[in-house]
């Protein structure tokens, strides 16, 4: 069952302190900006954030980090030209970091969503990122054993959704969204528009509704989260 929301705070209500939050997007493409702002406003803290990057400038993920809500970041590429918020917290020891090769990040979340217990992966063999990990030679090639990354919550951005929870994306903004949607107990998607059930071509649905718990309809949401009403007591199972 998918619920449709126009209030961003209601859409993120119930995210518990200590939760692992998967955050979609690659650069700004597919980044669930409104949901991240609502997560900041919700007050949840001690979070583990799994995302490709660790925030840019002063907004979005960087603002979540700056607000002191994040205990650990799991990502492939934290260091960027304008990742000064992350850089400062990391250097001061206030933020834990796990660096994961980008494809392993995706595949480990895919494994979580697909019920795979662990998998032997050739990426990173013989590098510092495989140190201490189990390896095995299979058919003459060496692999590293990698474990699933499961989220309590996924926050993703999509192009359009329907009341069944089905989602479609747009161009390379698709990136991590479909994978994260499968890997979290509760998946929350912000979409540019909600369409009537039956309007999405069943052949072209990228994320079937079974993976989507809540949809935030950006076309109906207030422009600023601060204008939104206070959250209801809706619960997220963690």
């Amino acid at each position: 069952m998918t619920t449709i929301h126009s209030d961003p705070l209601e859409a993120v209500a119930g995210i518990a302190d200590g939760a692992t939050v998967l955050v979609g997007g690659f650069g700004m493409a597919g980044m669930p900006v409104t949901l991240i702002d609502a997560l900041i406003a919700s007050g949840a803290s001690d979070l583990t954030v799994v995302s490709n990057n660790a925030g840019n400038g002063d907004t979005g993920l960087a603002a979540l980090l700056a607000a002191g809500r994040v205990r650990k970041v799991v990502c492939s590429f934290p260091r960027q030209a304008d990742s000064y918020v992350f850089d400062g917290l990391y250097r001061s020891g206030d933020l834990e970091l796990e660096v994961v090769p980008q494809g392993n990040l995706a595949e480990r979340m895919r494994a979580a969503g697909a019920g795979i217990g662990a998998f032997f992966c050739p990426t990173g063999v013989g590098t510092p990122l495989a140190e201490g990990k189990e390896t095995r030679e299979i058919d003459g090639r060496t692999y590293v054993l990698e474990y699933p990354i499961k989220g309590d919550v996924a926050l993703i951005g999509a192009e359009a959704g329907d009341a069944m929870g089905n989602l479609v994306y747009r161009k390379t903004a698709r990136n991590f969204g479909p994978v994260m949607a499968t890997a979290a107990t509760t998946t929350i998607a912000e979409v540019r528009r909600v369409v009537a059930v039956g309007d999405l071509d069943p052949e072209a649905v990228v994320t079937p509704g079974i993976f989507v718990d809540r949809i935030l309809d950006l076309s109906a949401a207030p422009a600023d989260v601060a204008d939104a009403e206070s959250p209801t007591s809706q619960e997220v199972s963690a």
């Binding site: 969503g113 697909a114 019920g115 999405l200 509704g209 079974i210």
Partner: protein
Amino acid sequence: MSALAVPTTTTEHTDRGPLDKHELAAVIARDIPAGAYVNLGIGQPTLVADHLPQGSGVVLHTENGMLNMGPAATGDDIDPDLTNAGKVPVTELPGAAYFHHADSFAMMRGGHLDVCVLGAYQVAASGDLANWHTGAPDAIPAVGGAMDLAIGAKDVLVMMTLFAKDGSSKLVPACTYPLTGVGCVSRVYTDFGVFAVGSSAEGDPGVVSVLETYGASVDELSARMDVELRPL
């Protein structure tokens, strides 16, 4: 993880039962939570769809690659490209989605379905399921999606007759047929009653909780079965 309602006391229906397969399908349909994502196995479990109430919001999954499957197709609606897992022509409801086999079974294996309803040769008190092979030495093995389905939902419900043709109970202390899955069944729906098994059963391991009986009392059923039954 289970979303099934659990009754507080055992009800012995002496006014009705044993149930025929349609009545049994109705009982299962009654217990499926509104809005659940459900896979109905090949054969009798497909009857459950006929008894889901209008507006239940239940979404049917078929493991050959579809969500929001509609009823069986008839006449001009028959489309060879649109079948269920039993290769029976079906229809598509608004809001459907198609996906390939790896994605479909990932959906099951990943625990995203709420309920799966399966037939069985035997179910053990521990929740072990045997439904793919009778173990006959000359039988050609064929598993299909049975093992994937067995572990592929938050609640795996079995729909079967309680007794085999020779009168022996199919709800057993331990399966004698080759297993399909270990400890995977949460509830067994039969013509004579509904039973919670495995981790869904209350109390000691190996003891089956009786939720309802049809046309027989718990004591009468106990007398015909080797497994220990316990009312709620």
